[in-house]
Structures are given as structure tokens and as C-alpha cells.
């Protein structure tokens, strides 16, 4: 019987359990989580602040799941060392493994800023513990400064909006969501968020904190009660580096999610993988890829055969009911439609759809995502019809017969 050890309590770990159990129902699985919860819906921490979910509902799977899958879940324990056949936790315990998944995730990056020590209430926004601490520190009169207008910073702003007096979000970039939006779309999203009363200071950054005042590079100053640092995240690669795994920005894995060290696999925020829309290695720290990468790793750890070779960056995110969907790379020929608050931009290169930004009306966007992931040659479908109106109608009758259900 095999010994599987999984480091990390995120969604990649959960995918790995499902992957292992699809190929091996007997092996012993130990999941070591440094947080005090089994895998939970991490992106929902902002919805918790908004009272749209609870800690209980955020548990990704029921307690029964771990019993049914026969997983030994160790909570609140950090792994300090990976050896060749075992891992060691901070309390000195040793867990032997035949196959290991290192789903060590990422951590908030907090840049050194002068005077940071003088800020009394400062938080990052990544975990349930962060969220509960932030929740405790605010009241209806609080003024919040959020450094970082990326996904984390903006979702935090939305979550806090109705519970505090004022929110200012600053970012060094000249636009919100700079990693996934172009300027035109970012401006549209920003205007929609501003309607809720959230204020922005873009192309500006904090030069120095003087207690509860941030002195900005532009010379402006912002008074606040609570600071949230949401500049970005860094992959937790240290354990894998120490055992000799190849690490660039993230841990290098092949399509089987194997690292360069025998018997050690990795998935989730810690890895860099191939983005098929640009054929470049990058960290795609998004939940669907974490699950799918973890699942693929699990199958291979259990001596099955699986490859995760169609990874793309993709996001679906909404602010105050306004939806944003993005995927792939923004390169090649552009097809665009604009209609009121809705924008659709599709990027076409070498007879393939390789990316999109869609704001507002997002129905059936999965049809585009599927064209990207499957590298569908656009001359095999009626793309002129699909680009205007995503549906299965412009596909061939054979395609529909095959995909919608067998022989008719």
C-alpha cells in the first residue's frame, strides 16, 4: 500500500485527493494543512465580509468527504523540511511518503515601505484568519486604505464597502486589474466600482507611513484607520528549492505536474506552467487550474496516466453585479463590440482564438474559453457567427450530435 503525503490545504490538494482516489482506493493519504481548516473556498473571503457566506458554507467539501476518501487531515501544522522519503513538520513529526504533492501555495508580498512599523492596524487578505482579524478591526466609522488594485485588493474593497465609512485604493499602475485588463476595459471597470463610492489613487504609491497617514509619492496624503496590503503574492517555493527542485519564479513542473525531483509533484499557486495561448511558462494562480493540476498530479502519483496540457489563465470576477471575464493572451487580430456598459474583445492569431476580455454581458462565454483550450482551428467552424453570438448553432450538426449526446 502506497503512502501519499500532500503538503497544503488548498484546492490543489483537494484535486490531488480526487486524482489519487480515481486510480488507487487503498493507499494512505495524509494531508498536512498549515491553516486550521481543511480546504476552503479561499476566493470567498470577501463574500464573507459582505455577509454573503459563512465560514461553515466556505468549507469546500463536507467533513464526510475526508472520511469517505479515507484522508488523514492534519490541521494547523507547517512542514519545515522535505526529505527524500519523508516530510518533517514544525513540531518534529515525520511523515513518510512514497509520492508527495507539494501544494504549498503563495503568500502575500508586502514590500518594505518606510514607517510601516508605525501603522497600528495592518493586514493582508489571503486567509480566513486574515479576514476574521480584519473584520474585528473595523467599524462603521473606519477609513480604509488598500494598497493594490488587483483582484485581491478590489475584492477586499467590495467586501468592506457597506461596513466602513470610506475606502481608498491606490496602485502604482495606471489602471485597475492591470494583470488582466487593458486600459479601456480597466477604466470601464473602475467607473463602475467608483459608483459605489470607493475612491482610487492610481499611478501613485505610498512613499512613507507616518502612523495612520500615508504620504504618497505624488505628495498627497491619505489618513486611514486600517491598512490592507494587497500588492501581490509570491509562490512558496522554499521547501522545494531546499530539496533541489528546479525553481524559476514558480516551481518547474512537466505536463504530469512532476517536479524535477523524483516522486515529488506540485500544483496550485506554487507552480509555473505552460500557457498554451502564448507558449510561455507562467504562474497561473487561479482556482480551476489548481484543482485540475492537483487532480492530474494525483492520478500520476497513483501510477495512472494523466496530462494537464491545456492550461490557460482565465478569470471570472464581478464587482457590485458588474461581470468581467478574461482568458488567454491579448495578442493578434482584435474583434471588438461595444454596447453601453458591455465590451467584448476577442483576440485571434494563427487561425485560433487565443484570448478575450468580456465585460458586462457574459452569457455563454464558456464557448469562447473552450475554443481557446481546445485550440479549435477557426476555419472549421462559422466563427463569424460565433464571435457575434456565442452558441452551438454555428458549429456543425455533427459536432452537436457528438457533444450533445450520441446517436440521434
Amino acid at each position: 500500500m502506497k503512502n501519499y503525503v500532500i503538503i497544503g490545504g488548498g484546492i490543489a490538494s483537494l484535486g490531488c485527493v480526487d486524482g489519487i482516489r480515481s486510480a488507487d482506493s487503498d493507499g494512505k493519504i495524509t494531508m498536512i494543512c498549515d491553516e486550521s481548516f481543511p480546504p476552503y473556498a479561499r476566493p470567498l473571503i470577501s463574500y464573507y465580509l459582505e455577509d454573503k457566506t459563512t465560514i461553515e458554507k466556505m468549507q469546500y467539501r463536507s467533513d464526510d468527504f475526508y472520511k469517505e476518501k479515507n484522508v488523514d487531515v492534519v490541521l494547523g501544522s507547517s512542514v519545515t523540511k522535505i526529505d527524500k522519503n519523508s516530510v518533517i513538520t514544525e513540531d518534529g513529526k515525520e511523515y513518510k511518503y512514497d509520492k508527495l504533492l507539494a501544494a504549498t501555495g503563495s503568500s502575500p508580498f508586502v514590500p518594505p515601505i518606510k514607517g510601516m512599523d508605525s501603522v497600528e492596524k495592518k493586514f493582508t487578505f489571503m486567509t480566513i484568519d486574515d479576514t476574521l482579524a480584519l473584520e474585528k478591526s473595523i467599524d462603521a466609522s473606519s477609513k480604509i486604505l488598500i494598497v493594490g488594485a488587483g483582484l485581491i485588493g478590489l475584492k477586499c474593497a467590495e467586501g468592506l464597502k457597506d461596513k466602513v465609512d470610506k475606502i481608498v485604493v491606490c496602485d502604482l499602475a495606471d489602471k485597475v486589474l492591470s494583470s488582466i485588463l487593458d486600459k479601456e476595459c480597466a477604466d470601464m471597470v473602475q467607473r463602475n466600482i467608483e459608483e459605489s463610492g470607493i475612491e482610487f489613487m492610481l499611478s501613485d504609491s505610498v512613499d512613507e507611513f507616518k502612523g495612520n497617514t500615508a504620504v504618497m509619492k505624488s505628495g498627497a496624503s491619505v489618513d486611514f484607520d486600517v491598512l490592507v496590503m494587497a500588492v501581490g503574492v509570491r509562490p512558496n517555493t522554499a521547501l522545494l528549492k531546499d530539496i533541489g527542485a528546479e525553481v524559476n519564479r514558480g516551481v518547474v513542473v512537466d505536463d504530469r505536474m512532476a517536479t524535477t525531483v523524483d516522486n515529488i509533484y506540485a500544483a496550485g499557486d506554487v507552480v509555473e506552467s505552460n500557457d498554451i495561448t502564448s507558449d510561455t511558462k507562467k504562474i497561473m494562480a487561479i482556482l480551476p487550474n489548481a484543482y485540475m493540476g492537483g487532480f492530474c498530479a494525483g492520478v500520476n502519483m497513483a501510477d495512472g496516466k494523466d496530462a494537464f496540457d491545456n492550461q490557460i489563465p482565465m478569470n471570472s470576477i464581478g464587482f457590485f453585479g458588474y461581470h468581467i471575464m478574461t482568458a488567454g493572451s491579448y495578442d493578434g487580430e482584435l474583434y471588438e463590440e461595444k454596447n453601453g456598459d458591455s465590451i467584448k474583445k476577442l483576440y485571434i492569431k494563427d487561425n485560433r482564438l487565443i484570448g478575450f476580455i468580456i465585460l458586462g454581458k457574459v452569457d455563454k462565454t464558456g464557448i469562447y474559453t473552450s475554443l481557446i483550450r481546445n485550440k479549435t482551428p477557426l476555419d472549421t467552424i462559422d466563427f463569424d457567427a460565433i464571435k457575434k453570438n456565442p452558441s452551438l448553432l454555428p458549429f456543425s450538426s455533427d459536432y452537436r450530435r457528438k457533444n450533445l449526446g450520441g446517436v440521434l
Partner: protein, 143 residues
């Protein structure tokens, strides 16, 4: 397992399946009283370009990418049926981003709703199938 299949040659494009679907969840006895003057959010939708028409609903994929992608843990697969836990869904629409068929839709509360083969109501067999006047929608085993 038995699933819903459509025959596009027989579909009349009448949209009755959409009304039967919306009605199935109401628990009321009379369709016109239940749905009159109300916006409906059916989980089966007719696609129609004037020449081709058919009804589209969740395929309950073997390898369901919506379940793998759900950020809230609301989607799961039970006995072959892709199910949604309405209490857990927060309406992020990641499933809409990934579904290759465009089969997931928003309901009146902006959360996602989807076909669960009428296992979530008291219809017994899927209401769209029972109500289809031309047998263009069937519920059968094909795997």
C-alpha cells in the same frame, strides 16, 4: 445513466420546454397562474437561428469542468448528476466562463442555476421531456 437528449430535426422551436422547466420548480398547480407576467429563468434554453433549432441544457459531463472550476464548492457530482448547492453559490460565474455548451444560466438572484434532471423537484421525470409536444427531447440511457 439516463440523460436528456434532443433531436434538432424534430424541435419546433416552440419554447414550451422553457416554460415547463420554469414551472417545475414553482410547486404550483397551474402554469399560467405561476408564470404569468413573470420573468422566467429556465435551465433549458432553445437555440434557434431560423433554420436549426434545439433545446440546450446541462450535459452532466463525465469530466465536468464546471465542478472542477467552482470557486465556492457549490457544484458537485452526485450519482452522475451535476448538482448545485444554491446556498453555497455566490454568483461568480466561473462555471459560465468554462462550460463549453453555455448550459449554465443566472437565476433571479444572480446566482447560477442549472438542470438537475428534475431531481430537485417533485416532477419525477424531467418536465421538459414530458411536455415536449413533438418528442424532440427525450430522457434515456445512451452511454
Amino acid at each position: 445513466m439516463r440523460k436528456i437528449y434532443v433531436n434538432e430535426k424534430w424541435c419546433l422551436g416552440c419554447h414550451l420546454c422553457e416554460y415547463n422547466c420554469a414551472f417545475a420548480g414553482t410547486g404550483k398547480a397551474n402554469m399560467s397562474l405561476a408564470l404569468k407576467d413573470k420573468a422566467i429563468y429556465p435551465k433549458i434554453r432553445v437555440e434557434d437561428d431560423g433554420k436549426i433549432m434545439y433545446a440546450l441544457s446541462c450535459r452532466h459531463c463525465d469530466d465536468a469542468i464546471c465542478v472542477k472550476s467552482c470557486i465556492s464548492g457549490a457544484l458537485s457530482k452526485e450519482d452522475g448528476v451535476v448538482k448545485i448547492d444554491k446556498d453555497k453559490c455566490i454568483g461568480c460565474l466561473t462555471c459560465v466562463l468554462v462550460c463549453p455548451y453555455g448550459a449554465l444560466v443566472q437565476n433571479e438572484n444572480k446566482a447560477v442555476t442549472k438542470c438537475q434532471l428534475c431531481t430537485d423537484n417533485s416532477c419525477g421525470e424531467p418536465a421538459c421531456v414530458k411536455g415536449c409536444p413533438n418528442n424532440a427531447i427525450v430522457f434515456e440511457e445512451r452511454d
